[in-house]
């Protein structure tokens, strides 16, 4: 039997929850207010204006979309994040399927090696990655960044996908093979559709790796403006003399929307994808 909490406890619970929600949402609301304020001001002397929009202009949005290269940065980020997502999906699903279904020499060692690589902090590899990309002629190019992001997502995604493939009965693929499917067909036409939740997680991780990163994006593609991704691009708006806060806020709000859209699109797969793949091993 579940004991119903008393009213005072309920009030306390809701108060804490409401405060938590306000605490979480206020920065976003603050940015929204700043994005519609005139004159590149982060604050206003109008107390009411700190909480609700007492003045509004779309000038900051216009400036970001039309005057600044935000659309170019968005296009670059969509390209990098999109190709990283596809590359992660292709590489990790095929690797995970091989780890899950085939017995081969060095399989266990490779799986443990992947885990060992995961323990290495990614930022520490930055210089080495930059050197490698320079040697490959990919430094300063989006393709180099895609390579770096894809390798960064490989370990977790491969383990996660392998865990999910392990939960799919192999008998389904065997039945398809009896009907004439080869290994590749059974992988593409049978296993992949069943692994949609894990694919969604892999896709989301790949997208987030390419979209929200600052350190790799700013070091591996430092210039020019037309090559930058959204996060380092937004950072570059500020200089030692001034920060265009209104533009900054408008740009920040615009660039979080694609992430929310991708998250919403994959939402129904995410919980099962993370838990099933994560529990099994």
């Amino acid at each position: 039997m579940i004991r119903k909490p008393s009213r005072s406890v309920q009030i306390l619970q809701y108060t804490i929850l409401i405060l938590g929600v306000l605490f979480a949402i206020y920065p976003l609301w603050f940015a929204f207010l700043a994005s519609g304020r005139t004159g590149d001001r982060l604050y206003t002397l109008n107390l009411l204006g700190m909480f609700i929009p007492t003045e509004w202009t779309f000038e900051n949005y216009r400036a970001m979309i039309f005057d600044r290269p935000l659309l170019t940065w968005l296009r670059n980020s969509i390209y990098v994040a999109g190709v990283t997502t596809v590359a992660s999906l292709v590489i990790t699903t095929s690797a995970a399927f091989a780890f899950s279904r085939f017995k081969f020499y060095g399989r266990e060692f490779a799986l443990i090696l992947l885990l060992a690589i995961q323990t290495f902090p990614g930022v520490l590899s930055l210089v080495a990655v930059a050197q490698l990309l320079t040697a490959l002629g990919l430094y300063g190019k989006h393709e180099g960044l895609i390579l770096a992001y894809t390798t960064g997502t490989l370990v977790f995604s491969t383990w996660n996908m392998k865990g999910y493939f392990d939960t799919i009965p192999i008998e389904l693929e065997e039945a398809a093979m009896i009907d004439g499917c080869g290994p590749i067909q059974s992988f593409i036409l049978i296993a992949l559709p069943l692994a949609r939740p894990a694919l969604a997680v892999t896709a989301l991780l790949g997208f987030l790796a390419g979209w929200g990163d600052f350190i790799f994006a700013s070091v591996l593609v430092p210039a020019p403006d037309s090559m930058k991704l959204v996060v380092p691009g937004l950072f570059s708006l500020a200089n030692s003399q001034s920060v265009p806060w209104g533009n900054f806020a408008a740009g920040g709000l615009l660039i979080i929307l694609p992430t929310i859209i991708v998250f919403l699109s994959l939402q129904r797969f995410l919980v099962s994808g993370l838990t099933v793949g994560g529990v099994k091993g």
Binding site: Y61, R62, F66, L192, P193, L254, I261, L264
Partner: protein, 704 residues
Amino acid sequence: MKPVPLRGWLLAVIVLAALLRLWAALTLPVDFDEPVYVGAALDYARLIRQGDWVGVIDYPGNRQHPALHKLIYAGGALLLGDAANQTTVLYAARLIAALLGTAAVALLAYTAGPLAAGLLAFHTLTIKYTAQAYLEAWPLTLSIAAVSAWEYAGRDESARQRLWWYAGAVAWGLATAAKMNYALVAAPAMVFLLVERGQWRRLPGLAGVATLTFVIANPTLWHHPLERLAAMAGFWMTYTQGHEVQAANYPWYQPIVWLATAPAVGWHPEVFFGPGLDPWLTLLALIALPAAWRDPQRRYLVVWLVGGVLLLLVWPTKWPQYTLTLVVPIVRLAAPVIMRLVTWLHDFNDYWGWSTLMALRPPRAALIMLSLFIGFIATVYATALVTVSIGSIGWRSISAGHGGLPSGAIYAIQPLRDGRVALGGEAGVTIWQAPVVSEDPPRWYHLPLGHVYALTETSAGLWVASDRGLALVRENNNWEWQTPPLPLHAEVLVRTVAGGPDGTIWIGTNAGGAVRRNDGQWQPLPQAAQGGMVIAIAIDPKGAVWFGGIGVVSRYIPASDTWQHFARDDGFASAGVAAILVDQRGNVWAATLGNGLARWNGVHWEWLTTANRQLPAQTITTLLEAASGELWVGAARPLTTGGFLLRYDGQTWHHYLPRNSGFTGAEPLALAIDQSNVLWIGTRADGVLTYQLTPWQGKTFLFW
């Protein structure tokens, strides 16, 4: 889901084509040849309005191209009436081109189906050149009409079929009269159709009809046709070896590069979003070639494309618009390949149902958010772009590097009575003269008169105040120095000059002013600007003369020989007075370099500053009153380069900014309106900007 009917697809394709072309017409910058064709259209319109039909036939400009398309543009100029000028006719011609380009898509949709037409609608190079005032849209439409007519024409001898053959020949002739290369490129395919259908005996008759149509539709050939055709051919032979073609230095295979890329997207990323389909369509057309050759009904498309490519490869001139002659066979060849691919994918998916299993099917919230996100960005971008595009209509820039200006700094502008415009800069006076024939470039005359500060015109000629003294430039561009030998001046620095209605000449020097009476004698005016440097002079219609100096404005009434000085107590502090203007209502405006704009209402000075939110900056560099009574003001940005251009209509200040007009944000130093109602803006470092004022600007007197 109910399939969309064919009529719906046709309509969608045509609407899409129209929207894309109208968007491009509004937003594309002025291209190389556009001023030439617009100039010809203006000249034709003028001749037609005068009833000078012989003048139309013998019009000497741009004879290398047949006249038909330019006459169509002239129709737009005629419809504009008094409002026709280089700018308005440019946009009228673009609108006509966009409508004709849409007609080409509609015709292709009708004859070859909505898919091929949709591909043409999206072809970026076609969008560009059928949305600008080029000579492409009409011959493109007519070449589609000509080939389609012969495609429909059958093998029998019925009158109806004969009609199609002759209709095609007429369309072919009209296409030639608009621009000849479309008809030339389509010629092998046309002849192939004729021969393939066993109608080759008709060739002489049809060629005769086409030739007759060409001559009738091209008035240039109504006098001395053979001579003028020979001159046309001679021009093209010379042109292929000319400076422009040599300077472009395109390789022989450049047409293939144009077709294998989407150059318009690279040139105008602000107009075309995302990568163009052009190279993919070319690739699909190449894939389709073998199958099309095997199909007798479509073999002529192969002849059209291959023959056209060979012609363009051989032809020494490689301009990108020439490849538009090949776009129709490309899209017609590519369309079946796309249809086949779609059918194959559809069948594959029907069997496996893979898309049903793997489709993401995002929730409605995600779709709504995506739509809002894209819609918001598109709306803001389109609004900003349309605002800038509309605001930029009528603006042109003449920089020191590309125009005839010796330097980018222009300190004074004086429109002359004979229509010329004098520009004073660091390297002397430059006189601009409009061309006699519109397609010719303007003429420039340079007079090395030193660092010019001010200009004014009287019946004697153009007076120039420069660091070398005072010069008088006569009508024949000869000049003589007229620097007065003034007492108390070791060396006279003539800083400004103004002409009085009675023929007197007033100058400002580094130590007061001076006036030259009608008898030619100079009288020093040491009281002007309290003996300091006089930077600006204005003459009141009532006879008073206003002198602007450093922190002082002086009023001198010659009739009573009285002086009145306005200085610190009146708000002038220590800033220089860069310009003084007496407006039509008698108000005196003083532009100060730091204190804002002062207005004398006869009793006291009112100050317009940033503090009272009247102005964006307090460094006012120049003033001008239009005939309408509107006040134009130039101002400099504080602490940085660039400036502001403002117009005051008596109630509201209108700011001209790069985001809402063609004003580049350069610092204005001089303003003037010439006889063609063009506002000239001299800048500190960026040469001259011109703005064609609308016909209603400058004609209506605003009482304020």
